[in-house]
């Protein structure tokens, strides 16, 4: 888009880039915020169905699909309350810290090949790091609220999330190691092809570590059974006890944003990213890197793939939330320190040794490098987005 503005509209470069960045930011922000609204609605419907009731049914005609928006309007209209003893500045700041951290991480999250806010060579690192900032908002909120329950919530959040980032980091390192890159696009590209190319099925160790990742991801976004920071039967509402109205809704949006983020990350790292279980596009001879109209549709298909996988992850989190009781703080810490961390470390070591011992996998024919399937359009190091024109439209035979 920036090139278009510079070359055709003849805008100065700085303006063109600013406009492009603004449009991209607005797109990401609105898509994620809209997505969060959809997930909030979905959670209410799913919770309703799980609990033998209907959930919202009226707002917006059918299925109550406008319920989240109506709730948002209600929250907008609420009185802006702050407790007397609260630390005003921090109290106001906290929701935005959480919200911004959760939404900023989407900048580096590819939705499909080339559908990405900003491609980074340290994408994984960026996402995990920025997501980690979210906890600051929660701690600030708990500290600034001048409420003992909020303080308990903040202390729990600090202890829990900081601990869980250790095994989470280890889980994330395994796909990075297998792909040899921290770039999320590259990691996903390496899993192109058939289902067996997904890192989930790369070796037994990655299969196990995927489940460790799921556990840690649920814990690090504070979802049941690890939702100790807001544990409503113990801490009233934990860190957001004193929040209401729009500020509270920012925490809510951040929570749903983060849920989607860790699910999308799981999809990118372990479940082939935007590559479906069957490489439909390359079987049809289409490629997503060429830049023509067909490739655009391939990318849209890829995006649908990724969104589908990520949404499935979110749905599973909802399912877990409405099924399981909550753990106690010492049990949560024990799960992390006694099980997740050693398991993640062992699996990391195992995956590394497997890589050395059996680089081709148990059945070499099963796992074919993506490049073989897509005949070399895959960007090599330093050659991102370059496509050989000879490959455009070439039908590739793939032996199953």
């Amino acid at each position: 888009m920036a090139e278009f503005l510079i070359n055709t509209v003849r805008l100065p470069a700085w303006l063109a880039w600013s406009v492009t960045a603004g449009v991209a930011a607005a797109l990401i922000l609105n898509v994620i915020a809209g997505g969060a609204l959809v997930f909030i609605w979905a959670e209410r419907k799913i919770a309703g169905r799980i609990q033998d009731r209907l959930g919202p049914t009226r707002t917006g005609g059918k299925f109550g699909w406008l319920q989240s928006l109506a709730d948002g309007l209600k929250l907008l209209a609420k009185e802006d309350l702050m407790p007397d003893g609260a630390d005003g500045m921090l109290f106001r700041l906290a929701p935005y810290v959480s919200f911004c951290a959760s939404f900023c991480a989407f900048i580096a999250l590819p939705f499909a090949f080339d559908f990405i806010g900003q491609r980074m060579n340290v994408g994984v690192f960026f996402v995990i790091a920025v997501l980690g900032i979210e906890v600051f908002g929660v701690i600030l909120a708990g500290y600034a609220s001048a409420s003992k329950w909020s303080l308990f919530g903040a202390m729990r959040e600090a202890a829990q999330v900081v601990s869980y980032e250790v095994p989470l980091g280890m889980c994330v390192v395994v796909p990075v190691m297998l792909a040899g890159s921290m770039d999320l696009v590259t990691i996903a590209e390496k899993q192109a092809g058939w289902l067996t190319n997904w890192y989930l099925f790369h070796d037994p160790f990655t299969f196990v570590i995927f489940w460790v990742y799921v556990t840690c991801a649920v814990a690090s976004v504070n979802r049941a059974p690890f939702d100790l920071a807001e544990a409503e039967s113990e801490l009233v509402a934990g860190f957001h006890t004193e929040y209401s109205g729009l500020r509270w809704s920012y925490f809510f949006m951040a929570e749903y944003g983060s849920m989607f983020l860790v699910s999308a990350l799981a999809a990118l790292l372990f479940l082939g990213g935007w590559n479906g279980p069957v490489p439909v596009a390359s079987l049809l001879g289409l490629s997503e890197g060429t830049g023509d109209t067909a490739s655009y549709f391939v990318r849209l298909l890829g995006m649908a793939n990724l969104l589908g996988k990520a949404s499935l992850g979110v749905l599973i989190m909802m399912w877990i939330r409405w099924t399981l009781p909550r753990l106690r703080i010492d049990q949560v810490m024990m799960t992390c320190l006694k099980y997740c961390t050693p398991l993640a470390a062992a699996m990391f070591l195992g995956a590394m040794l497997w890589q050395i011992a059996l680089p081709g996998g148990l059945v070499p024919g099963l796992r074919r490098p993506a490049g073989e399937i897509r005949e070399g359009w895959l960007p090599g190091p330093g050659g991102a987005f370059k496509v050989r024109s000879a490959d455009v439209g070439k039908v590739v035979q793939v032996s199953p």
């Binding site: 729990r156 544990a231 039967s233 113990e234 909550r326």
Partner: protein, 402 residues
Amino acid sequence: MAQMLDDDPRIIEFDVRTDEMLVNMGPQHPSTHGVLRLVLRTDGEVVSEVEPHIGYLHRCAEKIGENLTHRQWIPYTDRMDYLAAMNMNLGWALAVEKLMKYQVSEKARHLRVLIVELNRIASHLVGMGAYGLDLGTFSPFLYAFREREKILDLFEEACGARLTYSYITVGGLTADLPSGWLVKCEAFLEQFEPIIQEYHALLTTNAIFVKRTANIGVMSPELAIEYGCSGPVLRGSGVDQDMRRDGEAIYTAMYDSYAFEVAVMKDGHYPRDHVYPAVPADAVLGDCWHRFFVRMLEVVQSMDLVRQAIDRYSACKGPLGEPLKLTEKMPAGDAYLETECPKGQMGFYLVSDGSAIPWRVRARSSSFSNLAVAHELCRGCLIADVPAIVGSLDIVMGEIDR
């Protein structure tokens, strides 16, 4: 205080203790079952002392009872344990009947058993569902309420009310069952029976649930007796007492021809008349898990009793009998009777000077004694255990404050 903490091996962080914090849990708190206020003395997450404050729901019910006739006070008993109003009605009605040496008809006797046992199921369903809520799981609560709703529908059909029934009254019941009611009741039991397995899957045997309840809030039988605990709380500690079997003649006569085994762990196992999950290895007799489990067993036991009562009730020929007049005079004297309510032994005491209005009325609440033991159980636990322990006592504030 320091000495007490020192002796308690559960407080592991004694030598790194920091400043204590007083936290008010309630009266507006999601998991205090009404308007209970618990003052927690905490050190971080560790609770060193729990002090219950009660009286937020006090309505002078006993004093009101001294200004109304015996039958007029029935609706006030409804509002004590509002989750088991039928059992409250029965307790008062039997106490008055004991004083008056009045005998209800056999049909009314079986109908009373039917109704109170059905209400016991409803009450335990709430106890179970709300306990799940205390531990952070929402769905079992709604599954429990779904089934309770059906019991309430049955009650509504029988007496017109869904919560405060005043159905059982002095001298019998206000009305007989409508036609077709027993069939519906049987259909409900039929439909409800398999659902109990779902509750076991979601709660009783759930790994997280067991982790949260097993070996938490362990109450020795001695402690339970010392504090006057009763009902599932007492039986959860392995004390074999049930007023339906061990109570006074006027009460046990109701259950004379009924076959039931008290749900209590004897010689390391619970009564084996039904299929139920095994006791997890971590559970210790007297902990939250056992209190919860006794309630679950009592649901099955009550279903059995309801079935037996349906048979006996339908076998009874003759009229149900009319309840006593509102102004029926009582003989001078006093009477005290304890009945086995879902929460424990509920006692009613009345002194009469010969008129229809009792001279003194007192109620002995089971939840009151059950709550009193909370501070012993909560010493040295974590904050998250406080709802788990208080929830396992299954208290109702309406009964404590009266």
